[in-house]
Symmetry: D2
Subunit: 509 residues, 4 copies
Amino acid sequence: MVSLSFVNRLYTVGSLRNTEHGPAYRVKNRLFDATLTRVTKIEIDGEACDLTTTEVVIGTVVRSVGSISDDSPLPFSLRTELEVRVTAPPLAEGPHTVATEFVCEPFGTLEFEAVDYIVQPPAERPHIPRHEDDWSAEAIQERRDFVFDVTGVRLEHAARISYDTELTRGNIEHLIGTAQVPLGIAGPLRINGEHAQGEYLIPLATTEGTLVASYNRGMKVLNASGGVTCTVQDDSMQRAPVFIFDSAREARAFAQWLQQNLAKIAELAESTTSVGKLLRIETYLAHRFAFCRFDYTTGDAAGQNMVSKATFAATSWIVSERPEIRHFYLESNLATDKKPSSVNVMQTRGKRVTAEVLIPRQVLGQVMRVTPEALVRHSAVANVGAFLSGAVNNGLQSSNAIAALFIACGQDAANVAESSAALIHSELADDGLYVAITLPSLIVATYGGGTALPQQAECLAMLDCSGPGKVNALAEIVAGTVLAGEISLASAISALDWVSAHEQYGRNR
Amino acid sequence: MVSLSFVNRLYTVGSLRNTEHGPAYRVKNRLFDATLTRVTKIEIDGEACDLTTTEVVIGTVVRSVGSISDDSPLPFSLRTELEVRVTAPPLAEGPHTVATEFVCEPFGTLEFEAVDYIVQPPAERPHIPRHEDDWSAEAIQERRDFVFDVTGVRLEHAARISYDTELTRGNIEHLIGTAQVPLGIAGPLRINGEHAQGEYLIPLATTEGTLVASYNRGMKVLNASGGVTCTVQDDSMQRAPVFIFDSAREARAFAQWLQQNLAKIAELAESTTSVGKLLRIETYLAHRFAFCRFDYTTGDAAGQNMVSKATFAATSWIVSERPEIRHFYLESNLATDKKPSSVNVMQTRGKRVTAEVLIPRQVLGQVMRVTPEALVRHSAVANVGAFLSGAVNNGLQSSNAIAALFIACGQDAANVAESSAALIHSELADDGLYVAITLPSLIVATYGGGTALPQQAECLAMLDCSGPGKVNALAEIVAGTVLAGEISLASAISALDWVSAHEQYGRNR
Amino acid sequence: MVSLSFVNRLYTVGSLRNTEHGPAYRVKNRLFDATLTRVTKIEIDGEACDLTTTEVVIGTVVRSVGSISDDSPLPFSLRTELEVRVTAPPLAEGPHTVATEFVCEPFGTLEFEAVDYIVQPPAERPHIPRHEDDWSAEAIQERRDFVFDVTGVRLEHAARISYDTELTRGNIEHLIGTAQVPLGIAGPLRINGEHAQGEYLIPLATTEGTLVASYNRGMKVLNASGGVTCTVQDDSMQRAPVFIFDSAREARAFAQWLQQNLAKIAELAESTTSVGKLLRIETYLAHRFAFCRFDYTTGDAAGQNMVSKATFAATSWIVSERPEIRHFYLESNLATDKKPSSVNVMQTRGKRVTAEVLIPRQVLGQVMRVTPEALVRHSAVANVGAFLSGAVNNGLQSSNAIAALFIACGQDAANVAESSAALIHSELADDGLYVAITLPSLIVATYGGGTALPQQAECLAMLDCSGPGKVNALAEIVAGTVLAGEISLASAISALDWVSAHEQYGRNR
Amino acid sequence: MVSLSFVNRLYTVGSLRNTEHGPAYRVKNRLFDATLTRVTKIEIDGEACDLTTTEVVIGTVVRSVGSISDDSPLPFSLRTELEVRVTAPPLAEGPHTVATEFVCEPFGTLEFEAVDYIVQPPAERPHIPRHEDDWSAEAIQERRDFVFDVTGVRLEHAARISYDTELTRGNIEHLIGTAQVPLGIAGPLRINGEHAQGEYLIPLATTEGTLVASYNRGMKVLNASGGVTCTVQDDSMQRAPVFIFDSAREARAFAQWLQQNLAKIAELAESTTSVGKLLRIETYLAHRFAFCRFDYTTGDAAGQNMVSKATFAATSWIVSERPEIRHFYLESNLATDKKPSSVNVMQTRGKRVTAEVLIPRQVLGQVMRVTPEALVRHSAVANVGAFLSGAVNNGLQSSNAIAALFIACGQDAANVAESSAALIHSELADDGLYVAITLPSLIVATYGGGTALPQQAECLAMLDCSGPGKVNALAEIVAGTVLAGEISLASAISALDWVSAHEQYGRNR
């Protein structure tokens, strides 16, 4: 895997193997469309191969090395693989060195060298069946049979799907059926958002008894207080590449260069998407590393893939412009995708959304049997607890609402990890209580991902959140629902009837 | 809601209302079984009510106050509600004071006073229909009709359930159908656990394209390395009550008293469960608060409800023994339920489980096109990124596997928030790479929660994880799967083909 | 302390007391220069006072209320106090209400009302003697005598000062002498900075045996590697006011308005300082709070006071422009002054400075008896430890160098808390080890604070860091010194001779 | 530095050099007292040396290899160095392999092998002069001259010491004088501790104007409230070794073994100290690492060195008992010495001490011009700020008091980093405010370190904290002082006069 230069590193040599015709290996073009005009050297273990009998294969095209020339070049597109087939005896098991030199447009002469292995095929294992059309009913049935063969379990309920399986293409691989998560409703909840306005019936998918009842109870308080006011405060999705230099000073100079070239970078990044816009690049210097966060808006999509593509396109240019870059990784753990973190709490990931309400004292007493003072006292103590615990969330149960809504509505359930980060605050107000929750890194989408699947689309439709321009409404609805649960649980803890709620509804030992 | 003493606080007065017979209000017994032997005073707004015409109602029993005596007492069990019905004109809207004095066993004379409100019934809102048997087909259909009435959405796919809806009792309220999450399989994965041994086919429910493929690819590496070694290192589930005193010294004395009375506390706590065992009580003193974590083993259940009940039972006794306790909350945010936190990373919540593997250099090269050195270098840079970001997780995508497995197998998806906390470490080893992931707060269950639902039980059966004594095996399988994904994504980032994997499988704009 | 409007809140009523002439109270002007043109009402406990006999006193000017008019106004400057003296009998002990209405330029009619107390003078306590000239030898001697009277301790060594005590004016109050911290030297250390270039002898003030020796040892490694390369990566000092609104939307609108008015805000802020420049305002929205960080450069000063003044000036205008601001605090805990935090690790506080070195394998072996591999292995394990521990510093002993240098050189030792935050990274390089430390929030100054005191100025002179334009050089020197200690201690731990170093030099039981 | 086995690793080969007699190298005994009975092999670069002409030197004893035998053995004590002198031509520059085999009691035959270097002596640099008696006036003067030679700075004030410099032996190396930090006093402060009771005059060493005045002002509030109540809640000092195994299971088994052998481990650890007691061993498992925290009480000393020695003694035995240990480090970053961290906030490092007070509303109004409500409101907002910022301290200025007291009283100023961690809490109480601060990791000492130096001892005497049994009193005094500053600054921020306090006292541009 050793390469001679940075540009070469963007190509990978791999898949050295013995074929019936002789040794073969593959090169994948990872960065730019190119045109091969000459192959000038192929060596295996230091010995030159006979170029007259060597063939080059791209897709279905087979060319002898000799036939490739300026007049008869071979297009080598981005992300295609080129196979070189040599006439020689089979290679022995173990490591071998492969070296190549060729001429291509627009790069000129390139040479690289790599080590790869000839290995024994691994021990036979049963393989998951795959098909030409892998989402067909036939492919799925074959896999269900395979499950039975391997595990002895005949799937009945897990095998159900209520719609055409082809619709899941792009959402999953190796499909065998669906998980069925019980779906309930809470509300209606009155939401006074900028995007969501009115009464919403909230679909919640869960297997945890009392969850729906708890949220429903909190919604009564919100409704009796005139509804919950929701506000999307910020919106950005990021990919966080890191660029590595020989020294801290080079990293610093690079950070400055980056800001000076924002327009060009944005142009390249945005060329890969009809929706995403590059807002800014945050830079965090540490040692000789320039950690970056490329911040985008991504329309109604969650956008993680969109920003990966856009950032990769931009970094390809960046890397070619700044030869002093020694390494770069498209992700540096600073995104921080699917992980709660301080950087996301501060700088937003996805939507930053606040839900707030002023609850009259009387409503709290009537519905929840608690006083504003009791809730404020509990909240102060819970804050000390959160601080002591080193949590990034001083809320109580934000993940309950978020997981249940995400599953119902085709959101990425893995994002519960970062989306459930929450700041909660309550204070006494004129004869009542002000309570607010801010979700600084809520990842939601009304387009892409699982949102178009038939069941998921129905739940989004229930919320009037299907179709374009709806993602902020969804964010508001999630925040409002989360706040209902916070009030409900805080009241229950303060009023001491928490266990009994579980007793009544839950299924405990 | 004001009460005169701590013991009284355990009762709540509420639901003051005008009935056709006159004002009525309810008292709920929150702590102990008791027997009412006399009612000596009832005052509303400072005026004594006529006890001769006042009635006391518990459940279906209606007694005149005069009829209650030592010889003819009224049992007032834990968690039942007692209603007092007074003969008087209707109360005006607004706050009213209610004061009561009564004699009961084993407490003697108790008096309390509270403020409650007579309010206008809130504005009419459509209500979610509820039924005597709320999980019947009829109740469910009524709610689906209600969804249509309110939202105009006729549920078709979200309405499906492939089994008897009564089975969901205890798992959800206001049931209308199920969310259908596409289900795929990865593997088989060779797991060398202490509880899980052999080849496992992993069910993953997700709507995110490439997820299954990515895990499947990582499993190839693990299999080719002889399988993944998994170890459950610790196991505990907690409820974290806080006890509030007048001074730090009282809190400190209490913490000592707690350790001296562990046996009694354990006895009381364990009296509420046939499975849970109290392991220890951690105490964290701050100010005049004694924050505690009651640590339990909970068998094959996740156990959050089990430990709530057990801790509540124990704290009831504690509170009665230590009159200097000023307030207590059953939860202080130190559990830290459904939130990632340092305390859980250190002290374990659920299972602490490690998956580790020694990957030969050759396997890494063949399957992933990367060298051990490249992965170690990326890992060092990603560690700086994680540190900078203030994350509690230096892994890459643990939540992906955990969410997908949790949904497939009836685990609580809200627990993705804390369960996805991960520590990852890699180092060069003899001609290869040692990689390990430790999940310090993985919440899994093979009993209770959603595990018995038909589809979920099938997926657990695929993993040979249904029935008693299987929870550690499930923990090992989750950890092994998570490690597969870490290797897969780290290699992809290191080898730069990350975006293209999404390109090939995912559904992007 | 209750006030009727936000503008009024900027004034405080206080110091209600009985004088020999009658009740008197004071109002302090907290925000704007103003001119008093009429006093129209003065009430105490709801009763109007006789304005004809009431006097207004500002400084040494005494005016009867009747004499104040448009033609003969009374200037009421920012931060001066106005005393109102009423002719009335003495007020009883306890709370009293004071209400006032007056007309002033440029505000028009203002009225406010406050509650204050007449109290018994507190129990007699010995008071620390104060003088007209509080830094005179006489004042100091009196306080030393006071120390003897109160504690029975006759100060001998703590009473010493080797220079004119007047020089400490502005650095301390209630001066009695000096603390004498033993001062040693390490080095010379070769620093290849952009500002500090050459060999530096490092003054270290400490009482901890082995500290100087440990740093000295690390410096040998750095010198033998050609010196340490130091780079100031960023520079900013902040004050973090928070603005509180009625709703999240108002907070969001305010954040936008703030960015649109940056030029005006910068002008106002910079009007208070000849040195500080406002770089940007970071905004973090949570609930209905707009948390801000005003970032400045502050020249050679640490600048905490400079940015307080500048920010206060700007916020005064902001508050007057945006009447929807309900409250504001000049500091919101987000600065985060004298506290380590994620926000400072990310966003820089003071100087962000990196020290880095490439140590040849041979040097490490010769001087430290360890291999690069051993240090990298230790570093990886220590990283897991740091992550587990929830530290914001994965270094080993940065605070040792920083405290010792800060005390020697007149820096604020309380800033050790945030300045010692450190990120450390090491990796194998061509036959050697690359090690770098980044200090993201190093607060240093070569002007202001304690830097001009005679002893402190000598130590700064030793480092060629006295006089203007030297602060970055000092930051580089601190970072280089810190790195020396990291290498020294990591080597000692790796080579197991850590305890023995303490044995040889330290004074242990 | 490569060694053949773990036991051998405890010895280090080093200092290979050419002497006038031939090559020589040194071995240091790092672990056990031993007796050398035979040297059976010495090889350099694979070639056997002539043992008949080889000499072994320990201290001043020179023995020929041939003279060493069972009858005439050579004692080789712990921490002594043994030099082997070979008769051979000088070695060339560069790496050389040295291999040795010898017999010793109680270990039998041991062999080891190492690589060391012959290097050019490094470039000439001026060296800091050292003396036989390095703390003599002569040595110190020589170094002051050296400072002048190197830097051109003639030290006058930094050269002063008011006592016999020999007293600093054990506190510093390369002594040249003292840093003089201005020393003021605040108070008297009424402390109602369990150890400190009465009125204390607080010595504060600082160069930051307004600091003393600010604390003094807060003390007035505390005094007027009847004094501050201080409580030491816990006490432990730790060293955190890590033990590394081949697998997570071995690490887990080791953790169990450790608890089973606590008595033996405590005995060994405590054999090294007359004061320290091992309280417990916390274990944190991650991957194949067993991270431990050995918790001790350390009497009146801070104890970092005490616990290092004790833990090293215990781990030496542990390592010899558990051959499956692959590596161990005496410190793993989990201590976390001189770094703030969640683990220390939770588990205590040094003293965990709370200061609390109930301030009457009237006192707050009179002295601070604020209401309890205003302070509670600010505190709630500041908590959100602290949470947002990712700080481990929601206090305002704890480090100011701690640094100033530490410098005055001979505490380790580097410990400000962890000692300033603070939790603060305030709540409304009956017509007043309850405020408490908890310092979970306050490192203080009244014995050892700098406490015996003349000036420092005077300041401790002022606090009645010199002599045995005083350390808890000192902890209480520090906490009480910290609380004074919190109240003072919070009031200033709430009352908006913060800048003006700096204006009046501070020296600003």
